[in-house]
Symmetry: D2
Subunit: 443 residues, 4 copies
């Protein structure tokens, strides 16, 4: 069964990783409190030394967590049992379950963002290569799935690139603004730390390399939702790329193909088939990611100082958003990196409507002589005739007195050459490339 | 980490089960085709004998499925390699990947429905017991979270029961109408079976104990969506029960409690706490189930004869809907079965508004004398005074001439007794119990 | 701006209709209570006579409803003011806001279901005509947007028909099971009616022509959700049809076109364009409908005896589900009724892969001689060569000794004729037609 | 019927406003092109002069838009008919429908963001006042709806404030990054403007006061989705506030009340009731807003250079997100501004658990003597006894030798005084106030 997720992201959000990130919090807390003079240094070291996931029995933790309703409780209990006698009283000091679970999840999300960015850079790099290589490869621009005007495949790839670049930027933004320490104690007052709460909070943030929150945010989930939305938008961006690709791969279009590989894309019954694989997998992954986004999005309604359900749903939905988005990004990465582009097919499709795709170009060239409105009418009639009689628009136009009275055959021909009607395509491609390079710092 | 799913349902939708259900299809297909005289009986037996998941390497199947984009291909390939030389040409005869994957999923869903029904019967049974035991236990009915009129806890439990009963009925309906054989071959025409298609289809349905479809339904997903909605509605029904329970467990309300158990519902820092565990877990499970429902619901837009993404997303989303709903049902089952009900607290809360909760009763008793509109006004004023002066409504009413001119103190007292103002409560409880018994065939 | 809804459905869910349906409830309640001997007949008649929306100022009702938080309150107040002095005390007797609002909405939904069914019959009728007319019109079956095997356009239309038929059936089911009277009084006990509650409830149901509920269902929303899901599934079914249509309309495919009309589907700049209009509008409508479904679906978590938010959201979301689904159905109705089918284009596309689409057919015909597995290999190689050398598969096959040793040129030709490889297509079309006729009672 | 939207926001997204914003685009385009020397100045002035919505028949535009499938076409056609003969050829020059529709929508969204920010400032201002006034008003902090530790109502209000502040910030961010000019011509190349495309684009952006896009973004919808998510998060933030409020208003809690007003929050049958109105309305509005967010979020999968459905769905879903969010913000504004806070009730509830709420405080004070783990055990037992015997924890603790051996009665008393156990509450309140002032530039 295709997993719709990457092994790397699955590892970041595995049970063991989750446990380790929670233990990272406990270790950092002990150290921060040692620095603040609250916990004896040797107790802190004993605690920190025991904060290793391999010392815990995952099955036991999971069973006890299910019973307790919250994974922090068995972890703290087991950790307390592991540390030196004298350190026992200092484990988890001043913190609450939500502190360790939320901060642990934030640490996982930070790793997840790193992975997504790395893969988005790869998507971007592959798109950038396509944008450069096919800068001048004309193809049909399609609006409402109908031929509209010519574009180049490089321009299409530049849009894909731009989506990837902006997805990176957006994720970078959330890393700084949203992925911050959670630390408030049982009801968000840090009461059990007396006057040391703020200082411990700052030291703890430093230990973990996380920004410190102005206020604990136990039931203020907007930053989590913002991050999850940014991730989901990346999934959505990938699904746009995959949509274009599967449409271009259609039997009747055939302008691109996924790379072939032994065992890839065959049919269980039809010997001649070469099916898209990464396209559909990216689209499925993105659908799954967005489903999980809605769970988090609808879960902001959290009661008082800790929620009865919406928070707990995040424990599963947030990992799902990251994992499925990673799947979408990876499948698009493979798709774009291996994409076989067929410029001949692009040109053939472009010409299949006998030049009518360039009707606007002709209309625009005619407009200075007869006005835009009138030009539109004349060319519209010529197009209709070209369609009706199945003849080249160039031929039909050359018989139309209202056109030939102001344009000669060569002018008509130039007006109907796709390469002559690409407007700012080059500039747009350059801009997309430049922006990608700025964001990634490459070159 | 709480799993928000049951082990039993997770087993039904495990990778191995999925593989086995696909193999069940292949075995049944071979047998059906043997019966139809298309496949030699010994070939069919060789195929059927190899259709055992333990003969397959799950890791290998998964890797090849990811590459092929579809799990059926490596399964068919491996199965072909396993069977006797002479049977090789008959494996998967006339079927397509979608036939085996969809039918396999239908078989899993049928098992899933059975599990859900079993657990819903248990929920219903526990609710029925509460409804009978607390048939006459008065408590505040609450609208908009405000005391409205008295009800009994038995009536509340009867509503929970009714939700469970109707959830069972709805699931039973989908088993018959929606969980049917998928069999159409590569493009849904059964072309490769020539004139035998329909007959094989019927024999195959019989082998699998599934209703036969009038038409293959490769991209007609409405039955899958209907089933998934019915399951999701069961999750939603559970979340209504869990919501009531966590609200009744609030510190200030304290009318019910989850059963206590060693290690259950404690706090990592607060020694006095007794937190709800199954309530929040049920609510989280239901949220996750509904998130997965939206993935399936938005995936009906499937292209031509096989979809590029929406279908593939079902492979993950459908199991999620079942597994998380199973989690919601199970947590509610535990919650309701162990529910500790506190009739004293119920009565205390009922009386906390000094009889104002029965204002409507008084108003209704007064209405025959002064008209409903006028009675509403008089009682409204008395209630306001009772609130303002923090006195029993009975006392205030006894001082109100417009009331005492037509009702004596005893009549006022009766009008303000919760047990006297329960209307059709008994009938409603009886009806809910009867319906449950009819559906489950108990008693 | 396209409305994505039909005027008829918008009228059913207009503010005035909503008001009138609430008044229908109040009138029926008064009559039922008169029959039960609770309300004097002349009072009931006075009330019923005033239950006409045109007697109310919609702006005033809306303003007061916003203030009261619930529309029933100003309606009851205003109605009380309108009726004869002697009837005033009997208005709304025994009912609560939720009774009148929910029953009013149920009455609207019943009208909405009728409208949807009517339009679905029209969709079905148009699909049935296509299915019959193009029963034998071969076209490419497409899986994963790749040519798979031939089907006929009639078969595709039969699937569309089947979706429409099943949508009707599903809606009919909800009319009987889900659209029932809501009547419970302030907390669902009918307390204010004393011993008459059940009897009034039955008389009221009869007055309104609605099934009576076993229990009031104030916060048991599963039937509403089930109805809304059934409507949403109809929207999803329409979006499958529209998806097929817009894909078939693509410039490179050109197998169908939306009917042309003055002012329809043009471009603001491109004279040659003939854009799909009803297809995209149906798809947009369905997306909007499904968005509203999720609001209702996630709203089952309703607190105690009346909800603080989820119920209120239904007042808007339920009408949206109906209105946007009506839009989807209507746009598909127009789309299918006017669909221009181009069998020549279908055949051209079918042949564009030089017979490779029929590779399975050849493989199946070859299999009896060499085994299915071996046949698949041989034909696979021939297909690859046909693709590589851009030659007809028939030609290549005729040069392949492993084929020609058992099949002659004519047999090869027959194996590669689309019309000879349609399997059970005719039967499937017949079944879809028959089912539609059964459901609609036509013919 | 409550509208769940504000009149101001409804006006921004009305049909007439939409038309006017589209006309604003056309006027600005003509002027920009005049500046670029493409359109004669007098033609540009004639066009600009006709770009007034009141010159158009809204019914006619709507009908023609429904037929054309896109509102730009009838607008351009009608505008062309209105302008001076000589200007006719210059209307809409170089633009496509998507340019005018998207830019028009961006202009509406910008106005919408302004309105939301204004109302969020008001929400923030009311929350800030509560935070200051109730800085030291103790109340129960509640986790999982159970009493946890004391907080102050000021701290709760500070969290509400912080949510409002961050919602403003997030909206401000989208105004700069996401609300930008759309201008690409028929296929996104600006081909019809030849070499002038980029320059016209920049002049046009300046005319409209919008940032210029690096590339046209016809089917790159990530910025729209980002904006819509930011708006939806604001709705979600409001629903958190409303949730807290309706929970605090419960009959058994009674710590806050919505402001009373004639005709507000009554019951149609129960004279004593004082229902929440703005709370439920805010919650309903937020649910509706989030439903519309999912429509936009799932609509990123847009085909090639213009989408067949997902884009069109935005025309309705984007306004819905803004309108319903405005409703949520406005209802919370009214709610918070008029909130009646009852410090006596807060203290009463706080003390209802006989000091057990301060168990952690006692445990923490005891920990330095006996270790945290041991202290937790001792206090846990004392709490259990206090609960079992229904006595003050102070009393029970004073009888517990393991406590009294290290703490005297006064120390125990101080440990159990809520005001002494508020930790960093003051600092957190200050920070929330400061951040609000920074963002709003007040004081």
């Amino acid at each position: 069964m295709p997993a719709f997720r990457t092994p790397e992201m699955a590892a970041v959000f595995s049970g063991e990783s989750r446990l380790q990130r929670m233990l990272d919090f406990e270790a950092a807390l002990a150290r921060a409190e040692a620095r603040a003079g609250i916990v004896p240094p040797e107790a802190a070291e004993s605690i920190a030394a025991c904060c290793r996931a391999e010392l815990f029995d995952p099955g036991e933790i999971e069973r006890d967590a299910a019973l307790a309703g919250v994974p922090a409780i068995p972890v703290v209990k087991k950790l307390t049992a592991l540390v030196a006698e004298a350190a026992r009283g200092y484990v988890h000091w001043g913190a609450t379950s939500q502190d360790v679970i939320d901060t642990g999840m934030v640490l996982q999300m930070r790793q997840g963002i790193d992975l997504l960015e790395r893969d988005l850079v790869a998507v971007g790099s592959a798109c950038a290569a396509l944008a450069e290589r096919h800068r001048a490869t004309p193809m049909a621009g399609r609006t409402l799935l109908q031929h509209a005007l010519p574009i180049t495949f490089g321009l299409k790839a530049a849009h894909w690139l731009d989506l990837a670049t902006r997805s990176m930027e957006r994720l970078q933004g959330t890393r700084d603004d949203c992925l911050i320490l959670q630390f408030g104690g049982a009801a968000g007052t840090l009461a059990s730390l007396g006057n040391d709460g703020i200082r411990v909070s700052e030291l703890l943030a430093k230990e973990l390399g996380l920004p410190s929150a102005e206020l604990p945010w136990h039931t203020d989930r907007d930053r989590i939702v913002e991050t999850v939305c940014a991730v989901g938008i990346a999934a959505g961006a990938m699904s746009k790329i995959a949509t274009d690709a599967v449409l271009l791969m259609q039997s009747e279009v055939g302008e691109v193909h996924e790379s072939a590989a032994e065992g890839k894309g065959g049919s269980s019954t039809m010997p001649q088939k070469r099916n898209p694989v990464d396209g559909p997998a990216a689209l499925a992954s993105a659908r799954l990611a967005l489903g999980a986004v809605t769970v988090v999005l609808s879960g902001m309604t959290q009661e008082h100082e800790r929620s009865v359900g919406a928070w707990q749903a995040e424990w599963r939905a947030v990992p799902d958003v990251f994992c499925f988005t990673a799947g979408a990004v990876r499948h698009v990465e493979v798709l774009v990196q291996g994409l076989e582009v067929d410029p001949v097919a692009m040109r053939r499709n472009l010409q299949s409507s006998r030049g009518r795709l360039l009707a606007e170009s002709l209309s625009m060239k005619l407009a200075p002589y007869v006005g835009r409105h009138r030009a539109h009418e004349i060319v519209s009639e010529a197009s209709a005739r070209s369609l009706r009689e199945d003849r080249d628009l160039a031929e039909v136009a050359a018989e139309e007195g209202r056109i030939t009275s102001v344009m000669d055959r060569e002018q008509i021909g130039r007006a109907l050459d796709p390469s002559s009607y690409l407007g700012a395509t080059d500039t747009f491609i350059d801009r997309a490339l430049k922006r990608y390079q700025e964001i990634t710092g490459l070159r």
